[in-house]
Symmetry: C2
Subunit: 235 residues, 2 copies
């Protein structure tokens, strides 16, 4: 079975956490909306999925199943492709961590959209500065400190122990994204999280991930996605 991933074609966004999992697992997938006529196909899918229409992209078509919500897609893929434990306790723990990452991703998005997703960034610049300051003062230390402590407790392994999971891939994306969006702030901060930085490097060096990052399947960071580099927010 070849998976079909449906996500906005011009951004990494939330789809990227799914792309990284599919690439690491080395399973075949079509990134539908990036193909010719693909965006129209995605729109039709959203309207046509009888009974279980997704609220928003990303969603994954796996045979007859259409699965929405990033963390839910990873829950489905994880135990099938060796990216999460098979036993219930381990599966729940990995999923729990991914949901915490989802919360962090939303807070990252809100640094440039504190007044909500329905207004442009240009309409909310002063609020964005305030939110970004609060984010770096209180939230980054809390979230990254939490993951750093988990890594430290594992003594140099992956976030849940000896085997890589989709959470490690997502943490790679978080570190890379924060570096892109806030180069100055992140440079100052990341010496407090050496474990996460080292984890990021180890994920980037995985053969499948390395090949993916060098390919044109990896969309470059840009100012339409979750991680946006606005100089005035990086002061």
């Amino acid at each position: 079975m070849r998976y079909e991933l449906y996500y906005w074609p011009n951004i990494q966004g939330r789809g990227e956490y799914v792309r990284l999992a599919l690439e690491e697992a080395g399973v075949g997938y079509a990134d539908v909306a990036r193909s010719s006529q693909g965006l129209a196909r995605m729109t039709r899918m959203m309207e046509a999925v009888k009974g279980t229409p997704p609220f928003a992209p990303p969603f994954l078509k796996a045979g007859k199943l259409v699965i929405g919500q990033t963390a839910n897609i990873l829950l489905y893929l994880g135990s099938r492709h060796g990216l999460a434990p098979k036993a219930e306790a381990g599966r729940l723990w990995v999923h729990q961590l991914q949901l915490t990452i989802a919360d962090l991703v939303l807070e990252i998005h809100d640094t440039h959209h504190p007044l909500g997703p329905s207004l442009y960034y240009e309409e909310q610049k002063p609020a964005a500065r305030k939110r970004t300051d609060a984010f770096w003062k209180a939230r980054v230390p809390k979230y990254l400190g939490y993951f750093e402590a988990l890594l430290a407790a594992q003594g140099g392994g992956w976030i849940t122990g000896r085997r890589l999971t989709y959470v490690d891939l997502s943490l790679f994306q978080i570190v890379d994204g924060l570096r892109y969006a806030f180069p100055k702030r992140m440079k100052g901060f990341e010496r407090k999280t050496p474990g996460l930085v080292e984890l990021r490097d180890r994920v980037a060096a995985r053969p499948n991930i390395k090949a993916y990052l060098a390919s044109d399947r990896r969309i470059a960071f840009n100012e339409e996605g979750i991680f946006r580099c606005y100089r005035e927010l990086d002061a």
Copy 2:
């Protein structure tokens, strides 16, 4: 096995979605932080859970397992207590809907905290007004319209068909909470979502839920929780 729920003792907050599920299922649980010395016990638990510490409340102790993240707790409880399908496709669909509700809950929280959770409401009133306006203009119609359409497609059943799931309980909480926080706005809006209003009433009339709502186990809405009634935001 008697469950232990750990959540802040003075608010409904995210813990309420778990309480509603436990109450409807009629399973025994201790609301630990509401008992004498309970808050200190919750704090100790967060520091002491070896290997799998929760990032934040709520979390549920089920035997040796400690499960964090509201939607993850419901995923665990759902298929065990008849509040979600047992088959994978149904379980994933119900969980997907719950994750969409989790996104909505975060957006509701951000109406009074657009500059982030680390500042007081009083420090962000002007931004809160703007965010609330955008929320009611664009986001409430999108979210509630989505759930209303799902209900309409079921023709009067529960959100996923003939059997009640934890998502129905959560939608009850959403309607009740929006009525508490924004009485005027919601009064104007809810005629567009007759299915959700009717669903809310049917959940409230379930024997176990009815008994729960009348008991002192149900904490009253207040201005420390997710749903806060600030007159200036309900204009």
